[in-house]
Symmetry: C2
Subunit: 87 residues, 2 copies
């Protein structure tokens, strides 16, 4: 399945959140990752982020799609994220 | 159609970016909005954000979907965004 992950972590945890997420998905913007993921890895990713997060301070939204055949993606401006921009 | 909008604007423009985006979509996380939008309003939204942004510094990604029938949304942690959290 395809996942779009958007997160908002407190500064002290945001580096770790990115590190976890990048094991499974591609980094496409400051706090956004996306990619194909297996159901097993999706479960792992959720557990790892849940283990890291303070649920009173941090936020994660996962949009999951069985198919992307009816979707489009448009990007404006600078490309952020990606392997060249590790924080 | 349904749109997920994620942006990363420089600090001095981020308030305006949110203000523009909230005219058309629901604010669900710090830099994430989503919602149903007409094609005409989607075009307007893109033009307004393009007019605001510095393409060398800022980034916007739009994911658009004709249908959400094969998608799921999961949220962990605190709910950010929303009318009560205007910055």
């Amino acid at each position: 399945m395809f996942v779009i992950l958007v997160y908002d972590f407190a500064q002290k945890r945001v580096g770790k959140a990115l590190k976890i997420s990048r094991k499974y998905l591609h980094w496409v913007q400051n706090s956004v990752l996306e990619g194909e993921i297996s159901k097993a890895n999706y479960t792992k990713l959720k557990l790892e982020l849940e283990g890291l997060m303070d649920p009173d301070e941090d936020s994660v939204i996962f949009y999951t799609f069985r198919t992307l055949s009816y979707s489009k993606r448009e990007e404006l401006g600078v490309k952020k994220g990606g392997d060249e921009n590790i924080i």
